[in-house]
Amino acid sequence: MAFSLDEAFGMHPQAVAVRSKRMQIIASNLANADTPGYQARDIDFRELLRNEQNSRIVRTHARHLGGNAINNTTGSELKYRVPLQPAQDGNTVEPQFEQAIFADNAIRFQASLMFLDGRIRSLSDAITGGLR
């Protein structure tokens, strides 16, 4: 039986990668909450995850390297956040909003980790026959 770890884990490894990228961006936003002229950035999670999955599929030759969209960000997938109340110094970071998004992202990150954890546990149960 052909078995691929990639398929066993589904989309979760990519989801974790995109989530950690997003955490990094939100951390940048919050660190720059008081920097004049700084504009808050974010990514479209759905779009980036789709790119990440497509970049693995679109390979026309078996020896092509799989593209990894997450680790080489060109900046084009980074979008600017539209502020609710822009500050006078040109800063568009809204800390409360960013914190809410950070918490949301952290929970979803944990959910993906739990799914992965479950998959790993079931695989290891299948290998050892439930004996550990």
């Binding site: 974790v16 950690s20 990228k21 955490m23 990094q24 961006i25 939100i26 951390a27 940048s28 919050l30 660190a31 720059n32 909450a33 008081d34 920097t35 004049p36 700084y38 950035r41 990514i43 997450i70 680790n71 960000t73 900046g75 980074l78 800390p95 914190q99 950070f102 918490a103 952290a106 990150f109 944990q110 980790l113 992965l116 954890d117 790993i120 546990r121 290891s124």
Partner: protein, 137 residues
């Protein structure tokens, strides 16, 4: 793993905010300073923040912050006529520091909140990384 960069980002935020707290503390400590000439009197200081990216790997998604300069206010210090004051000059004038304590208190609270935000980010990231390490155990 790119999550290690979050520690650098949040760390840079905490460092910048602590400089801001420091400057606020000096402003408040010198708020009541009085001198006989405008050159001697304390002038309000303010840190200047700027976005910082790693010059080796400039990535807009990994933008820290750093203090590029501490600017000194050029506003004229308050001039009062107090001939009885020990620091008064020959004409009887004294100069008071141009520090507004209310403004400084607000600045201090804002810096403290931003510092807390960065700590929150550090804690959450640490927690998530530990969970990732323990995955499948």
């Amino acid at each position: 793993m790119s999550m290690f960069r979050i520690f650098e980002i949040a760390g840079s935020g905490m460092a910048a905010q602590s400089v801001r707290l420091n400057v606020t503390a000096s402003n408040l400590a010198n708020a009541d300073m009085v001198a006989g000439s405008p050159g001697e009197v304390y002038r309000k200081r303010q840190p200047v923040f700027a976005t910082y990216m790693d010059p080796m790997r400039p990535d807009p998604a990994t933008a820290g912050v750093r203090v590029t300069n501490i600017s000194t206010s050029s506003a004229q210090p308050q001039k009062n006529y107090e001939p009885g004051h020990p620091s008064a000059n020959a004409e009887g004038y004294v100069y008071r520091a141009n520090v507004d304590s209310v403004e400084e208190m607000v600045n201090m609270m804002s810096a403290a909140r931003s510092y807390q935000n960065n700590i929150e980010i550090l804690n959450t990231t640490k927690e998530l990384m530990l969970r990732t390490l323990n995955m499948g155990r």
